[in-house]
Amino acid sequence: MKHLLLKLEPLIWLLFGQGILIGTMLLTGWILVVGVLAPMGLVSQGALGFARAHSLGSSLLGRLFLLGLLVLPLWKGAHHVRSLSIDFGGVERDAAVASLLYAIAAVGSLLAVVAVVRL
């Protein structure tokens, strides 16, 4: 398992790097509106009504945006939580922790693809 993780590290690092770079850029506006402004009623009713939201989300650009938004932060998250585990003396359990975290990110990524495709 450790050997497999070593072989996949460059790919994981690429996903993690884009998770920080692109993921962070995409997330900021999303969290601001969907997570804060809209629930607090600071956005007009129709903006995130089903019709408009679905129309935006199912457009080509919309699907690409959502794909990036859903997939990339998961890999940043998984890699950093693994790092946190090691920071607290977790090198012995690293193979297990890393496998679990990357599996979560992988499953999340697959679900993200399904979620975007079925829009």
């Binding site: 070593l6 590290e9 460059p10 920071d87 090198v91």
Partner: protein, 247 residues
Amino acid sequence: MSEQKKTFVVTRFDPDQDAAPRQQSYEVPVQPDWKVLDALNYIKDEIDPTLSHRWSCRMAVCGSCGMMVNGKPSLTCKDACADYGDRVEVAPLANFPIVRDLVVELEAFLEKLRSVKPYILVAKERAVEEGTYRQSPEQLEEFKQFSLCINCMLCYAACPVVANEPEFLGPAAIALGHRYNMDSRDEGQHERNEIFRGEGTVFSCSYANECSEVCPKHVDPAAAINQAKFNAVIDWLSGFVTSRGGK
């Protein structure tokens, strides 16, 4: 000269007598221009000749005198006593096994340095008739900073990954390997990038940047390591495109 009394709390450890490292306090009349090393040498000369510590050049170029001063990795020949208060704790470099008092085991560090093949690698040796290598100032700039390392190991004492992952190559070793990878005369990039993706993997670095914060020579090993990650990925990707046997 106005001297000031400071208390130096020094880690002591004699493997023949002590079960574990302990601390011993010394009152030192510190002169205003003294470095921490001067105080340690005073202790050894005037108070306690059994104290063991490494030092050599007294001018921050040999890398021998690295220790933890008040919990921070420092070159004791560079740090002024005046920068510290009345109580100064001196301990051996963090993250290294302790041989005796302030002396740490270096061998693992040397093993890691050797493992990155820190020398020019060429496919075919250059014949004398071909003359010398030619390298422009721009080509030199790409790696010169990383060649300034004095092997003081402060970066290893500062790195949280070195503390937790024994296999990790560590800042100085990766910076040294990267120095050769960026040297225009070198042809060993692929070999070194394979080592960088191996057991000691550069990807273990979590970019804490502590190594660069403590480096006394401004080598910026964190920059080297993260550049090395990028290069290692390019090398990995190109392995799928070129017929190198793939890795």
